[in-house]
């Protein structure tokens, strides 16, 4: 794409030529973290946007070089802290690929269960905050938000009984998982997802029968399939724009080929299409968790011994890239190993980072209120954007 197009500015036939430059962020109620959008307004219409990121930069790639293969998975979860399980999974998958470590079948199934539960939890938070953006903290959005948080809590409870942590888990380790499921956990998990499945119908009834929700989302922030591919968005954004691509199906990792699930695709490319994609993903994730619980094989949970010292995993010289389908899209880790206990170099591909690049292409021409609706539908997590 040409350079001049990377920042779209549209010209409007506006009587006066006074433009208002307004900062949205870095401290702003709907900045979803610390994001600064410098909007140029003509009246209520946005004519240009400058997106400023980097407020949450924590040198993750350098940290990856400084910490051993045993230590880093718990830090990897701090990139995308809303979906920590999949971020960890991406790192350990990359290390296993470079080192050619086997992962026992049971561990692979456990990884699928937590990854899909994490997707449900992450989408819950997305739906809540997105409605909060559109409906306000003192309005209907807050109601949806609290309902979603209620469901997310249930999944966090499951994770807590599994790993002892509620936000950043350290569940995965190179070669398998660190914990096995405790007795009775599978039953609790089944009950939880059954409850969530039932509540999803309530959300859909509350939102899709609501004309105000529809006018705020339909036809807003349209991403064409071409634009989506040029910018390189992934995950629900790409699938909402008619690109039928899901890494779980295209490049199955961790035994995803064993499960039967649909990949939702919508062609409209607007906020509503992205919402629909995620709502179907909720249900597909629930289906996958059920299948994985049903077919959970017996056996060891790791091909490697339990963690005793930080330097115990050594990866032979080599390099490789592994990617997984996170809640927000493709999360990839590129690892260059030099034979020691630490990687020589690590590169993270954050899904939110690539997805956020779409904003300057679709925001100009929208109203101010659409900016937050579009931002919410992109669902960025700034830990992952800035890393």
């Amino acid at each position: 794409m040409a350079d001049s197009e990377s920042r779209k500015v549209i010209e409007l036939g506006y009587g006066g030529n006074e433009r208002l430059v307004m900062n949205m962020g870095p401290q702003h109620p709907s900045a979803h973290g610390v994001f600064r959008a410098i909007l140029t307004l003509e009246g209520e219409t946005v004519v240009a946007v400058d997106a400023v990121i980097g407020y949450l930069h924590r040198c993750h790639e350098k940290l990856g070089e400084m910490l051993t293969y045993v230590q880093y998975p718990t830090i990897a979860s701090k990139t995308d802290y809303v979906a920590a399980m999949t971020a960890e999974l991406a790192y350990v998958t990359a290390v296993e690929k470079v080192a050619s470590f086997e992962v026992p079948k049971r561990a692979q199934y456990l990884r699928v269960i937590v990854a899909e539960l994490q997707r449900i939890a992450s989408h819950c938070l997305w739906l809540g905050t997105w409605c909060l953006d559109m409906g306000g903290a003192l309005g209907g959005g807050a109601t949806v938000f609290l309902y979603c948080i209620r469901e997310r809590e249930l999944i966090l409870d499951l994770f807590e009984s599994l790993t002892g942590a509620r936000l950043l888990y350290g569940f995965h380790q190179v070669g398998g998982t660190r914990y096995d499921i405790p007795p009775g956990w599978a039953q609790t998990c089944r009950e939880t997802i059954a409850l969530i499945e039932q509540r999803l119908d309530e959300y859909e009834a509350m939102l899709e029968d609501n004309a105000f929700f529809l006018v705020r989302t339909q036809g807003v922030g349209v991403i064409s399939a071409t634009l989506a591919q040029e910018v390189g968005v992934s995950g629900p954004l790409a699938r909402g724009s008619g690109i039928d691509f899901d890494l779980r199906r295209a490049e199955p990792y961790s035994s995803y080929q064993d499960f039967d699930f649909k990949v939702p695709v919508e062609t409209a490319g607007d906020c509503y299409a992205r919402y629909r994609v995620r709502m179907v993903e909720f249900r597909e994730s629930i289906k996958i968790v059920r299948q994985a619980l049903d077919g959970l094989p017996e056996g060891p949970i790791s091909s490697r011994p339990g963690v005793k010292s930080v330097g115990q995993v050594r990866v032979p010289k080599g390099e490789g890239y592994a990617r997984v389908e996170g809640a927000r899209g493709e999360i990839g880790f590129y690892i260059v190993a030099d034979g020691g206990p630490k990687p020589y170099r690590m590169k993270v591909r954050g899904a939110s980072f690539s997805n956020l690049a779409i904003l300057p292409h679709i925001i100009p021409g929208c109203k101010v209120a659409d900016v937050v609706a579009i931002m919410g539908s992109v669902d960025p997590v700034f830990g992952e954007v800035d890393r």
Partner: protein, 328 residues
């Protein structure tokens, strides 16, 4: 002279009653919203959180009062008062029971509508005087919205006026002796719904709260206000909302009429009950809708609500003419 003192006393009592009502209506709303969202709501201050509004008020009084350096000091400081006055003044015309009100004007409804739309002056002053971009944008939206929604609001409020054949509040209630206006076939229900929608918009409540719009404009025109000035703006907003609920109860729900309403005390109770019902409907809508966009708000007003209320008013007028005169 004695007469004047009595009037002043009545006004003093009413003013304090309004302030007390506003503080406790916030508690009602918070409890109601909490129930909707499967929460408990305020619970810690006093039994069942009953002292929460007082704690809130005390907190706001003790807050530091900050005036932004770039603000237009005069306009900025005056705005909350200018905003509050019309919001409280409209209570003057509301009769709470037969002969229990400050001034049962013969143009009561007109006075109410005229004065309540004056709040925009204070609102715009606040938005302009703050010298803040969010506040400015919000003030612009407010002017747009209030101009657009005053007309449907007036038309919807005129339907009962035409039915009763009077602008006097007590006469409108008296005309509902047989049948509340909301129970009139078709006209009454449509009129009431139109009135509620226009009320929501004229009061800047969700889903029409684009001028507060905390997810875009942070807090809109009052983003720079703190402490007591913020409290005054909040007070004005809630006072306006309660007054509109009273108006809805008077115009459509038969005011103080109800079993046993011959005794003034019971009449007042009925009236408050109905007004709170209207208020809760407004609150219910608030906590279940998302906000709509500014251009959509204007479209709803000019393309839908204005023709609908105007048509309804004409139909009502024809019907009254056919019936051969207004009144019960």
């Amino acid at each position: 002279m004695e007469h004047l003192a009595l009037d002043a006393l009545a006004a003093f009592i009413l003013l304090n009653a309004v302030i007390g009502m506003v503080t406790y209506v916030t508690l009602l709303e918070r409890k109601f919203a909490a129930r909707m969202q499967s929460r408990i709501g305020p619970y810690r201050v006093g039994p069942h959180g009953l002292l929460q509004p007082i704690a809130d008020a005390l907190k706001l009084m003790m807050k530091e009062d900050i005036v932004p350096r770039a603000a237009d000091r005069w306009v900025y400081n005056l705005a909350p008062i200018v905003f509050l006055i019309p919001c409280v003044l409209i209570f003057a015309t509301i009769p709470f029971a037969p002969r229990l009100g400050l001034a049962d004007l013969n143009i009561g409804v007109l006075f109410f509508l005229a004065v309540s739309s004056l709040e925009i002056v204070g609102l715009f002053m606040g938005g302009w005087g703050s010298n803040n971009k969010y506040a400015l944008l919000s003030a612009m939206r407010a002017v747009n919205q209030i101009i657009s929604y005053d007309l449907p609001f007036v038309f919807a409020a005129l339907i009962p006026v035409v039915l009763a054949g009077s602008l006097q509040m007590s006469a409108i209630v008296a005309a509902q002796q047989g049948l509340w206006f909301v129970a009139y076939p078709v006209i009454g229900q449509l009129g009431f719904v139109a009135f509620l929608v226009a009320t929501l918009a004229a009061e800047n409540r969700v889903p029409f709260d684009i001028l507060e719009a905390e997810s875009e404009l942070v807090a809109g025109f009052r983003v720079e206000y703190s402490g007591m000035k913020f409290a005054i703006i909040q007070l004005g907003e809630y006072a306006h909302m309660i007054a509109s609920s009273f108006l809805g109860a008077l115009l459509f729900l038969g005011g103080w009429l109800g079993p046993g309403s011959d005794i003034p005390a019971i009449g007042v109770l009925w009236f408050l009950l109905k007004a709170m019902l209207v208020f809760l409907v407004v609150t219910w809508v608030r906590w279940s809708f998302v906000r709509i966009r500014v251009d959509q708000i204007l479209a709803v007003s000019w393309k839908l609500l204005l023709p609908a209320t105007l048509g309804l008013l004409l139909v009502t007028a024809f019907w009254v003419a056919l019936r051969g005169g207004a009144g019960a």
